[in-house]
């Protein structure tokens, strides 16, 4: 890969890995969700995200040109090769925590895909346009739940406020461009994160206001996921997700 291809590969891993890890997290609620409707909603959102991850990682493998397909990339990379944002690997916590994590991600994911639907790269445009249709339902659902819990009982309010406070420091890296984002923005391939951030802040303000929640003060933001520096949680996620194909590499459906 030349430098530009290397950067595209990195960028696609970030898109794919974030969807994949969040999808894997969400799927752990199956069988445990608080109500039947949420059981199905969580499962469906997880499925959308894993499906989108497959498209992004498939594309990453094509650009890499080393014969790795989406499955190979998902199952045979270690934590330091993963490029997901840290928010995606936060543990599920209680349901308020899961919903807040989802909302903070959806509010970023939607404007991100909107921008990528106009990428200079046709393959990226296609995946983004497809995913965007699905994510419109994700963001609507998580927004409604944040409002319902925030403006609900004292218990639900306190729990979702605590989730917002705890997750806040993991929101910065999604919205802050680094060298890869910058280089690909200049070629028209990547999304302009400043504009994504603008849309994100607007939605977060709007929804938290209606939910009677308080946005934490400006503070230090944790970075690193996009560059492969992860929290200790990712290793456990991968251990579970990758066990079968690593133990039985030739296993097929």
């Amino acid at each position: 890969m030349n430098k530009l291809e290397q950067q595209q590969f990195e960028y696609l891993l970030r898109l794919g890995d974030s969807d994949l890890i969040l999808g894997q997290r969400l799927s752990a609620w199956l069988g445990h969700a608080p109500v039947l409707e949420e059981e199905m909603a969580t499962g469906n959102v997880a499925l959308d995200l894993v499906g989108q991850a497959r498209s992004w990682l498939g594309l990453a493998g094509e650009i890499e040109g080393a014969g790795r397909d989406a499955d190979r990339l998902a199952y045979f990379r270690d934590a330091f090769d993963y490029r997901n944002v840290l928010l995606a690997e936060r543990p599920n916590g209680d349901y308020a925590y899961t919903i807040m994590r989802q909302f903070l991600y959806d509010a970023y994911h939607y404007p991100l895909l909107e921008r990528l639907s106009a990428s200079a790269d046709e393959r990226i445009r296609e995946v983004a346009a497809k995913s965007l249709k699905e994510v419109q339902y994700h963001v609507r659902r998580s927004s409604e739940w944040v409002i319902r819990m925030g403006d609900g009982t004292r218990e639900s309010h306190d729990r979702i406020q605590a989730a917002l406070d705890d997750l806040w420091m993991y929101t910065g890296e999604m919205l802050t461009p680094d060298e890869v984002d910058q280089a690909l923005l200049e070629t028209g391939v990547a999304a302009d994160l400043e504009r994504v951030a603008g849309a994100w802040h607007e939605r977060v303000r709007e929804v938290t206001a209606e939910a009677t929640l308080v946005i934490p003060d400006e503070s230090w933001m944790q970075q690193g996921g996009k560059q492969g520096r992860h929290t200790e949680h990712l290793g456990y996620i991968l251990a579970e997700m990758q066990f079968l194909p690593r133990a039985y590499p030739d296993a097929r459906w």
Partner: protein
């Protein structure tokens, strides 16, 4: 290569399309892949038949079953070499659901998509009135954005009180 055999036996794409009307969505078995609008192209090529389909949702688990069913159906008609390609663009929309498909859905107890699929309007706006597939009443309430499959939401009828699935616009 069997000399001349392809000149005599090669079925036309229309013929193949007709055969493929046997292939249904395993999750909503009343709908064929043609009703759904996911069958995008059929081509006779030198090395066999190439069928192009598009997924309804990125993670739709039915796609694998549908691919296998396409191959099985055409194999049974004597076409040995079948390739099934998936394309993402143009992205599938519920607008491609045929009229017949919508009628079948209603008869099956699933409310068909109401109105046109428009990205933005679904973001915060309420969808158009969704009519109950049992009694036709438009006094219905959404109980969940997601149903038993990615393509459906759950509703309840306020008149006949039946819960039902709604095939949502996308």
């Amino acid at each position: 290569m069997r000399a001349g055999s392809d000149i005599v036996e090669r079925p036309s794409p229309d013929r193949i399309r007709e055969w493929l009307t046997e292939v249904t969505d395993p999750e909503i078995p009343v709908l064929t892949i043609e009703d759904l609008g996911i069958l995008r192209d059929i081509r006779q090529e030198d090395d066999g038949v190439r069928v192009t389909i598009t997924p309804t949702y990125s993670g739709c688990p039915a796609m694998m079953a549908i691919r296998m069913e396409i191959v099985r159906t055409l194999n049974a008609r004597g076409i040995d070499r079948v390739r099934v390609d998936e394309v993402l663009s143009p992205a599938w929309t519920t607008d491609w659901l045929s009229e017949r498909g919508r009628e079948k859905l209603r008869a099956y107890g699933i409310a068909p998509p109401a109105g046109k699929a428009q990205g933005k309007s679904a973001l915060f706006g309420e969808p158009d009135a969704v009519a109950c597939p049992q009694c036709g009443s438009e006094r219905t309430t959404r109980t969940s954005e997601f149903g038993s499959t990615a393509c459906k939401a759950m509703y309840r009828c306020e008149d006949c009180l039946e819960p039902f699935d709604y095939f949502k616009c996308i």
